[in-house]
Amino acid sequence: MNKELYIFLFSMWILVILGGGFLVIVMGPLEIHGFEIYDLILSSIVKGIVAISLVIIWIIILYKIKNWFFKKEIKF
């Protein structure tokens, strides 16, 4: 079981690194123009939606990995 925990930890770390890279590449250059004083707010809203979507995807991936690793150890 300990080996699986270390692998799960390592998987989470890799996901954080890759997720961060995706955020920087996608969200970094993201800017909204044409709405004058609302540009910043709209840009933040869109970035927020992208970030939350990424977190949800991250959680789903972790959930699948968790089931794959640990389901045979603990029957749930």
Binding site: W13, L23, V24, E73
Partner: protein, 330 residues
């Protein structure tokens, strides 16, 4: 620079000595007032003083005020106020059992000093890929980081010595990471956290003479989150906490809602005849880190604690590697 080094040494020594010296008095005072709880992982009836938060917060206040006297930085004030509010949220829960939502909402208020004092950088720095500026979104991140770190440390406080031992490892890891990315001011402000956790561990390690309680765990977690935000090492801090994050993630994904531990009926672990811990087969029980550790066979409380510490050291190594990666850009 020499003034900062002197300040750091004095602050760390003060924090350590305050906790080391005050905790025995706190233990006696709590025992006199019958503020003790049963240690369910001991064969004999063992009552342990709780909470240890007052000695922890005294150490934090003393060390950070000394630092502020030498280095009058607004960040130190923000860290201190956030930690004190976190302590009070936990202390209220220690004295009167509150609902599952009380601590997260209370800890959102603890994040307000950082926001109002402006002691943060709204650029989120990622390893290898650089940073992304998210001015409005970052305020939302601050509001959820303190509740997450506070409750994560609280949720790992399951066995003798684990919470304080874990925070010792994570606290020093955060300090090393801050030095690596050359944020020396917050690195110095973070040093007392590791020393205070170490001092408390002396009384918390198995067999525990005192439990940190919600006030102790939230103080340590709140300070950790505040350091992560003001130091701009949010990602590194999250990685150092991964074993505790796994515990919270497993718990929440199996329970599918926020609940107090006291509300859980099905037990994830139970005792063998010789009082080691083993995993139960109850489908309704939450999946926890401890349950996974003992899934293949029963272990003693001490052995489980050491497994968790080894996981903490592993994630600390990953966190330090991540800090080095922050200085590299693809």
């Amino acid at each position: 620079m020499s003034q900062e080094i002197i300040a750091s040494i004095i602050a760390c020594m003060t924090g350590f000595v305050v906790v080391y010296a005050v905790t025995p008095y706190l233990i006696r005072s709590l025992q006199k007032r019958n503020m003790t709880v049963k240690d369910y992982n001991k064969k004999e009836l063992t009552m342990v003083a709780r909470p240890g938060g007052p000695s922890i917060i005294l150490g934090i206040i003393a060390s950070e005020l000394i630092l502020y006297a030498f280095i009058p930085s607004l960040s130190i004030i923000a860290i201190l106020i956030t930690t004190v509010i976190s302590f009070f949220v936990g202390f209220i829960d220690d004295r009167k059992v509150m609902g599952g939502w009380f601590k997260p909402i209370g800890l959102v208020f603890a994040s307000l000093p950082i926001i109002f004092l402006g002691t943060y950088d709204s650029s989120l720095l990622f390893p290898l890929f650089g940073s992304v500026k998210i001015p409005l979104l970052y305020i939302g991140i601050i509001a959820i980081v303190i509740p997450i770190t506070g409750n994560t440390i609280n949720s790992i406080d399951v066995l003798n010595g684990v919470a304080s031992g874990f925070m010792t490892i994570a606290g020093f890891t955060l300090t090393i990471s801050l030095f690596i990315i050359q944020n020396y001011e917050i690195a110095i402000a973070s040093l007392p956290l590791g020393f205070i956790s170490l001092a408390f561990y002396k009384y918390h390690k198995i067999p525990s003479k005192i439990f940190p309680g919600d006030s102790g765990a939230l103080s340590l977690g709140g300070m950790y989150g505040a350091l992560a935000i003001t130091g701009g090492v949010e990602i590194v801090a999250a990685i150092a906490l991964l074993p505790a994050v796994i515990n919270s993630f497993l718990f929440l994904s199996s329970m599918k809602r926020i609940v107090e531990h006291r509300q859980i009926k099905a037990k994830p672990v139970e005792h063998t005849d010789d009082f080691r811990l083993k995993a139960t087969n109850e489908k309704e029980a939450p999946i926890t880190l401890v349950r996974l550790i003992v899934a293949r066979g029963p272990l003693s409380e001490k052995q489980i604690g050491y497994v968790i510490f080894r996981l903490a050291i592993f994630s600390s190594v990953l966190a330090i590697i991540t800090a080095f990666m922050m200085r590299v850009a693809i």
